[in-house]
Symmetry: C2
Subunit: 434 residues, 2 copies
Amino acid sequence: MRNAKMRPTDIQTSTMNDIKEYMKGVGQAARAASRTMAMADSNAKNHALENIANAILLNSAKLIAENAKDVAKAKLEELDAASIDRLTLTEKTINGMAEGLLQIAALPDPIGEISDMKYRPSGIQVGKMRVPLGVIGIIYESRPNVTADAAGLCLKSGNACILRGGSEAIHSNQAIAACVHQGLREAGLPETAVQVVGTTDRAAVGELITMKDYVDVIVPRGGKSLIARISSDAKVPVIKHLDGICHVYIDDEADLSKAVRIAINAKTHRYGVCNAMETLLVNANIAEKVLPELCKTYLDKGVELRGDDAARKLVAQMSAATEEDWHTEYLAPILSVRIVANVDEAIDHINTYSSQHTDSIVTENYSKAMRFLREVDSASVMVNASTRFADGFEYGLGAEIGISTDKIHARGPVGLEGLTSQKYIVLGNGQIRI
Amino acid sequence: MRNAKMRPTDIQTSTMNDIKEYMKGVGQAARAASRTMAMADSNAKNHALENIANAILLNSAKLIAENAKDVAKAKLEELDAASIDRLTLTEKTINGMAEGLLQIAALPDPIGEISDMKYRPSGIQVGKMRVPLGVIGIIYESRPNVTADAAGLCLKSGNACILRGGSEAIHSNQAIAACVHQGLREAGLPETAVQVVGTTDRAAVGELITMKDYVDVIVPRGGKSLIARISSDAKVPVIKHLDGICHVYIDDEADLSKAVRIAINAKTHRYGVCNAMETLLVNANIAEKVLPELCKTYLDKGVELRGDDAARKLVAQMSAATEEDWHTEYLAPILSVRIVANVDEAIDHINTYSSQHTDSIVTENYSKAMRFLREVDSASVMVNASTRFADGFEYGLGAEIGISTDKIHARGPVGLEGLTSQKYIVLGNGQIRI
């Protein structure tokens, strides 16, 4: 790296001081671009999204060729099969990226939306206007399609963004960034609205998460250790997703056919996802009726079962769950099972062990459903539905930048609105404070 | 301090380890109380607020006696007159506290509010429910009335709170806390929902702002150095207020009588407040017409003027403003004045120097008003109104815990809603993800 004026797409090694200067340059360019993006009209932003989608489709051969360099290196370095799978771009994933961008273009523009304008006794009219956050820093791991998704969401919500993908995907990310820049340029928007950090040096992340003057919020996407590290070191606010320890509670007044359907879907639809159920709670009054049948299906599907003593009395193939199990996000075909006396015990268990991601009750009882909704302190709380629905697309947000398990700013799936804020606006006619 | 089970109202000296244990105990009690408060119905919360108001009025002699101890100590330690003034409780401030609590009781309960419930193609119905944040830590300086205000707002919004007032107000704060506890007890709510930290040791603040397991958000109230220190050391999210460098821009299409009225009010209504104007921007086309008259009034009121060259040509008594001036929150009868060529230059100046608190344009031109509203990136943006209106009461929030100059979660005056969050709720009928 020669100096701070290098193009952010250059890849070079560097000293710590160079990195500091370089990231400052990236930050300043992002801050300047964010001012333009905040004022960009919906048409310009939608044209940019459509242009980027086109550029990605037209350059698919190039993207696959660049991606092949990353994949070859990953194989040489003996990355595990799952990581290489996430890293690999195919015609299908490329079409998916373009499709995702067109879906974002079709969403309503959140920026400039005015709401709640009310006259006050002083004669002023006060309400809110939705505005971008400014500059979003996104830190992610191997999936290169995040580059297009994240750029699209930030662009539509009027933000500038600084993307820092995994070093193993650097060629793929740079090639996608070239398409993004082409699309922005053709729409008359600044290319610096989306910058891909051009160095694989880890120190760049350290700079990104502490540049309070240039970055308004950090969204880390990746494994738990990455997110925990970033949250602990960041000086910029972080919208984060930690564990997904999700529960389904089958009440004694559940419709058992719904209960079985939901409990099977929540665990076995996909194992490695954050909204999969990890612990099943069953009311003691109906445990004998529902648990053996349910567990037979789990075992048939190859799910390992770990339970408390009461559950193990009903299902012979269940091993003993430890305290550790209730705290564990397996992300695997393993399920912990606990028998509870009533909805109070279920809520207590969830508020103690849940990661406040997504929890569901199956019941036909109105009052218990309402209590569960009110009292379970999680980002998504459900009645008679599979935890697998906790997702931006399923919720109608159109796309998501991630799922937040935080309490402030945004909870649950974070779509365009989570990348915005509201300022107060006041319309007067010469009023002064008396 | 003997052990972690001491009552939080005990005042004793202690070792660092004792403080850690003590604060952990306070945190655990707050977390437990927050669960009860989240489920408390509106009636119970309103009764508690009314009971506290009563207790404060009935114990006014006691409050004044306890306050006298703090005031005597402050005088002995030769605190400045302004600090002693803020510290002193009178019949009037005590009535004000009680009145404030009754006003909070009269506000609608934000908790449990359900909005935006929409059916999705999968058949589930998705929307949001407003919920408390959990445990709020409030750190403040000499004003003892904050103890009642903050307790009232946290209580109504279903949160538990941990209050850490200035050591100079410890007797006053403890006496007010006793009234709060009496009111909570009489309403059947846990006293630990409002805890006043019982040690004046500074280490307690260090614990409070890093206890991520027990505290969900910190609201610091006080001077800039206090807030900067807390923000930099906190591991818990902080809702903060830094500078209030507010601007009024008088456009060349302004109604000059409105302009003069607003510019005078914004600067001279009160000098030491965050929403007072610190810099006046005047369009060059009307500067000659409006500035001499306006400045005569400022000078009559004893306001010192500092301006750029163009402004100084029009007003002889104006000294030269330095770059430093544009960055300064005077909180005093000093005003910086700059002549700008047009609304673009005004917006540029504001987005460069403003602390993103509150900025106002005076104009009769529709397009310029709309551009100013959209393009000025501040928590409150106004047209033809005094910056002094940026206030929770004036905005109809009923009361405010503070004014946020942050971008995420809450911008501008923070009322009950700023102490809440929204979780997703999903109502299903047995739906599973396919």
